[in-house]
Every structure is written in C-alpha cells, then in structure tokens.
C-alpha cells in the first residue's frame, strides 16, 4: 500500500511540472501588456513601467521567468497579484467559500441522487423509473448556465425564496441556490449510477440467499443491496467533489460567489499571469491528491481490490 502511494506521488511530479509549464506558456503568450493595463487609460512614465517590469521579472526571457516561478513555488511562495495582494492570501479567502459550496452541492446530489436512484433500481420499469430516466437525461443536457439562470429567475426573482446573488462573506443560506444548481448535473449521473448498480446487486446470489433465509425486504434493501451498490457511487461523489473544488467558473460567476472559479476567471481575463499560474498549480495539486484518495477509497470500500507492492 505504502509503495503504491509512493509510486502514485512520484508519477504526480512530471504531471505537475508539465501542467505548470503548459499553463505558464499559455499565459505568457497572452497578448497585451499587463503592466500598461494596470494603469487603465492613463499612460504611466516609462521609468515606472521599467521598474514594475523588473519587479515582476517580466523583463526576463520566458524560461527564466518560469524557473524563478518554480523556485518560488518550492519555497512555498506563490507570488503577489498585480494589485499587491499575496496570492496565498487570495487563495485563503476564496478556497473556504468554494469548499463550502462544493460540500453543500455534494450533500444535495448525494441525498437526492441515491434516494431516487435506489427507488428507480428497485422498481425497474415502473412509471417512477421511466420519469426519473427522462428527467435525468434532460438535466444532463441542460448547460449549467441555463439551469443557473432559470433557477435565479424562478426562485430568486419570481418566488423570492433566495437572494439572486451571494452577499458578502458568502453565508450558507445564500449558497443553497448555487449549490442546488451545481448539484443538478451530477445528481442526474448519480441517479443513473445508483440505479444500474442497484439492479446489478439485486440480481446477485447473496441477495437471493438473504431472501431465502427469510429476511424481510426492509432489511435486505438497506443492508444487502444498498451497501453493496454504493461503491461506484461513493467514488463518483469523491471525483465530483475534486472537480467542484477546482472551482465552478460559470455558476460562481452567475451567482457572484467569491470563490476560486470566479477569481481565477477574472485573473485570466485581466492577464494576471502569476495569479493564474499559482491558482492552477494549487488546483492541479488538489485534483491529483483527491484522485489518489479516490483510488485508495476504492480499495477500502471493495475488499476485492488490492494494490500490490
């Protein structure tokens, strides 16, 4: 097990290097001068530009800039944004918000998705099952921004149940609507995954054995069927949590959530190279770690899977 984890961590190193290089290269190639853009429509004196350029190492060739950046990352220094704020501070402000949003969304999709998927699977072919299938297909087809706008219009404007945008500090009650919107897509996937898994498990010999022992259906369903059906569902939820943690650009933008996705998007649009690269590096790191944890979780949940060596 330890060997497996070590090997996975070693494999992550080239991926992380490649990802930072790729993103650094792309950001470097962005048109426009970020220093000039910083001053808006005013023209700063050339000395000021020179000085700022040297301060942010923008006067050096690309590969030198990349190596300086890499060296700083290894020392835990994520650099400063063009507004003078340390990137680590921005991360510290935005990550808790995204974490709350992601946890809330995963909670919604887990509760609703597993419940509906279980009923669908147990009553295969019923009207409930058919309508759940249709609804899940439609939800998968709807682009997230359409869901977000319709939710905002219906629940925020028409019914007035929620605020249409998140207020300062991002309290939980403001995050409920964006979390439901984020949950819709994965909710549909979880319904389908749970349904398929429940049907497969329901046909297994151990379920028939349990029934022939005279156990009641109310005991077989939660203990024998549900528990053994949840392995793919739980791993999907974990992967989805990893995806949500790296930020939901569109949803955060529409609901004005001050999270990672919106901040990163704004940094890209402003051409803030250092902020973008640092953010993406941290995001990729989280993503790789979550994926490793998912694979380990698999082995914990399913005793048949063992990582040798």
């Amino acid at each position: 097990m330890t060997g497996y984890i070590l090997r996975r961590l070693l494999q992550a190193i080239p991926v992380l290097l490649g990802t930072t290089f790729l993103i650094y290269f792309m950001v470097f190639a962005m048109p426009g001068d970020p220093i000039v853009a910083l001053f808006g429509d005013k023209t700063p004196p050339p000395q000021v530009i020179e000085r700022l350029r040297a301060e942010y190492n923008l006067d050096k060739p690309f590969i030198v800039q990349y190596l300086i950046f890499l060296g700083n990352i290894f020392q835990g220094n994520l650099g400063t944004s063009f507004s003078g704020q340390p990137v680590s501070d921005i991360l510290a402000q935005t990550f808790p918000v995204t974490l709350r949003l992601a946890l809330l969304a995963v909670f919604f999709e887990m509760v609703a998705g597993i419940a509906i998927g279980l009923v669908s699977g147990l009553r295969k072919g019923s009207i409930f099952d058919a309508s759940a299938l249709v609804v899940s297909l439609i939800l998968i087809s709807l682009p997230i921004f359409v869901v977000a706008f319709v939710a905002q219009y219906v629940f925020g404007i028409q019914l007035g149940w929620f605020r249409t945008t998140v207020s300062a500090g991002a309290p939980i009650q403001d995050l409920i609507l964006p979390a439901i919107v984020l949950a819709t897509v994965s909710f549909a996937q979880i319904v389908r995954l749970t349904r398929a898994s429940v049907i497969d498990t329901d046909g297994q010999d151990f379920v028939r054995t349990a029934a022939s022992k005279g156990l009641s259906r109310t005991r077989i369903v939660p203990v024998h069927i549900l528990r053994n059906s949840l392995i793919p569902v739980v791993t999907y939820l974990a992967v989805d949590f990893g995806v949500l943690m790296v930020g939901a650009t569109v949803t955060e933008g529409i609901f004005n959530v001050p999270g990672v996705g919106r901040t990163l998007y704004q940094a890209i649009i402003r051409g803030e190279g250092p902020t973008v690269v640092s953010f993406v590096t941290v995001m990729v790191l989280i993503y790789l770690v979550v994926n490793l944890l998912v694979d380990l979780l698999y082995a914990v949940l399913d005793p048949r899977i063992r990582y040798a060596k």
């Binding site: 297909l137 087809s141 921004f145 404007i157 398929a196």
Partner: protein
C-alpha cells in the same frame, strides 16, 4: 419419443427455469448468419423508440444547419430595428425580438450551423488524438504507455473550460469556429484516450490476438486490424457524448465572453447577450437555450441507446 411439451427444436423435455428460458441455451441455429457485436447492436437499436427519436432530431438539426434558408426568409442580422427591442411575437416574427431588435427565430435557425460545426470539429479532433494516444499507450505498454499516459494526465488535470478560456485569450485576435474548436478539443481528448486504453488492455490478451501473433502478423498490423476494431465500441459512445459537451462548451465560452465574436451567429452569444435582461425579457434567454438543450439532448440520447445496445449487461437493466 418427444413428449407433447417439448419445443420443436428440443430433443426431450426439461423443466423450465424461470431465470433463463431454455430456448436461449438449447437452440442455436447452425445454418443462420453469424452475428457480431454490430449486427446485434443494430437489431437492438431498431426496436427502440428512443433511438429513432434522437436520430430524427439529429437529422432535423443537420438539415437546419445546412439549409437555414428553407426555414426562414428573415435575415438574422441586417433587418434589426431597435424599436423592436425585446419585443414580443408579431406577424412574421413568431418568437419575438432580441435586445437589438433582431428576429429571435431567424437567429436561432442561423445559429445552428455554428454549434454543429464546433461540435463536429471538436469531435474529430478528440477522436483522432484520443485514439492515437489511447491505442499506442494501451497496446505497446511499457515506457510508451508511461509517457503517453502522463501527457494525457497533464491535459486532463486542467479543467478544459478554464484551459479554453486561456487559449481564447491568447488567440483573441483570431476568434472563429476553428480556433474555438481547437481550444476545446486540445484539452478534451484524454477522457477518450483513457477509455480506449482500458479497453485495449482488455482486448490485447484475447486468443485471436495470440493467433494473429502466431501467424506472424506484424505488431502494428495486429493493432490496426484486430485490436482496434474490437475495442472501438466504447469510444463511439463517448464520442457521441463529447459532441454534445463540445456544443455546450462553445456556448459556455461565448457566454463567458471569450467565445466567438458577437457578429457570429451563435446560441451561446445570444444567451450571453440576453442575460442582463433576465428580469424584463426572459424569453430572449430561454428560447435559444431551448434550441441548445434539445440539440444536446438528442446527441446524449443517441449515445445512451448506443451504449445500451453495445453493452449486454445493460440490457438486463431494462
């Protein structure tokens, strides 16, 4: 002496087993045509209404994209009058007007080809890159697999909408259908490569591969003629679904303001421009969204039925 309860093609009576009808085990027509995965799948598909509904929708969308003139005579861009801004339906303008006073129906019809072209170009790119990387990584294994899989991981670990936002910012001077397709496709292929690699790992240990090796067929030819055709089924399913997500990605990028220029007719652009009027004129946002969703739905439905038809295990779940 066969008893009266035997079926015509059975020699003697065996009590029926509830789970597996005996005919399924006992009777194999020796003189029948040999079936394979694809003919089985086609026989299954033909019987399913969802297949015909999605196929009809896709054919309809393709016709709209190719011949927008058959569906509307109103020019989508040149006939706009600000006096009609966000106006309701009138004679000859069945869906009303956008903020700029353009005919919504005409803009939806003319925007179809944009979405579909992006979908097709991205899908082609994803299929070529995904099949090349997945096939070589899975079939040759060893260090080739390690290198190709790590390259895939690099592209996979950056969320592809964000990567596309960066690429579109880099190439902001050249925003057109080809560039946006490239920006989406460049980071979308690793999923396909992973699916194919896993399938090839399964197939390459089959007996028919060993037989081909024993006959002295070259490695590359084995990959091309024997392994690849037998591993391509899951790729076809994921490709259909990736076409749908490419259409959504184009709309999302246009929506974020880094997609196609506003002069290009695109559903994403129209949705993006309508978002500020959500309170006063929700129909300007809802109508292009419906066109987008129905198109995406038809491709996802097709992917679903094809997956079910190709996967014998899924048939039991119906």
């Amino acid at each position: 002496m066969p008893s009266s309860r035997t079926r015509p093609d059975q020699q003697h009576y065996v009590a029926p087993i509830e789970e597996t009808p005996l005919v399924a085990i006992d009777s194999v027509k020796a003189e029948g045509k040999p079936t394979n995965l694809w003919t089985d799948a086609w026989r299954d598909l033909r019987k399913r209404p969802m297949f015909w509904i999605s196929a009809a929708l896709i054919v309809f969308v393709v016709i709209v994209a190719l011949f927008p003139g058959w569906f509307t005579q109103t020019p989508p861009n040149n006939d706009c009058q600000l006096a009609n801004s966000n106006g309701g339906p009138t004679e000859g303008h069945p869906l009303g007007f956008t903020k700029q006073g353009c005919d919504i129906y005409s803009r939806i019809i003319h925007g179809t080809s944009t979405s579909l072209s992006v979908g097709l170009i991205v899908t082609f790119l994803v299929a070529v890159l995904g099949i090349a990387f997945g096939a070589f990584a899975g079939f040759y294994g060893g260090w080739i697999d390690s290198v190709l899989s790590r390259i895939g991981d690099i592209f996979f670990s950056i969320p592809y909408i964000l990567a596309a936002v960066v690429i579109m910012s880099v190439l902001s001077a050249y925003r057109n259908v080809w560039v946006i397709s490239l920006a989406i496709g460049l980071f979308a292929w690793p999923a396909t490569a992973r699916v194919l690699r896993a399938e090839i790992l399964r197939v390459k240990n089959s007996d028919f591969v060993m037989a081909a090796t024993a006959l002295g067929v070259s490695r590359f030819r084995i990959l091309l003629r024997h392994v690849l055709p037998n591993s391509i089924a899951p790729v076809i399913v994921i490709t259909t679904i990736s076409l749908a997500s490419a259409i959504v990605a184009e709309a999302t990028l246009s929506f974020l303001g880094v997609g196609l220029p506003s002069t290009t007719m695109s559903w994403g652009n129209d949705i993006s421009q309508a978002q500020t009027d959500l309170r006063t004129a929700p129909q300007t946002l809802i109508l292009p969204s419906i066109a987008l969703s129905v198109t995406v739905l038809s491709f996802i439905m097709l992917g679903e039925v094809v997956r079910d038809a190709l996967d014998p295990k899924a048939r039991a779940r119906r």
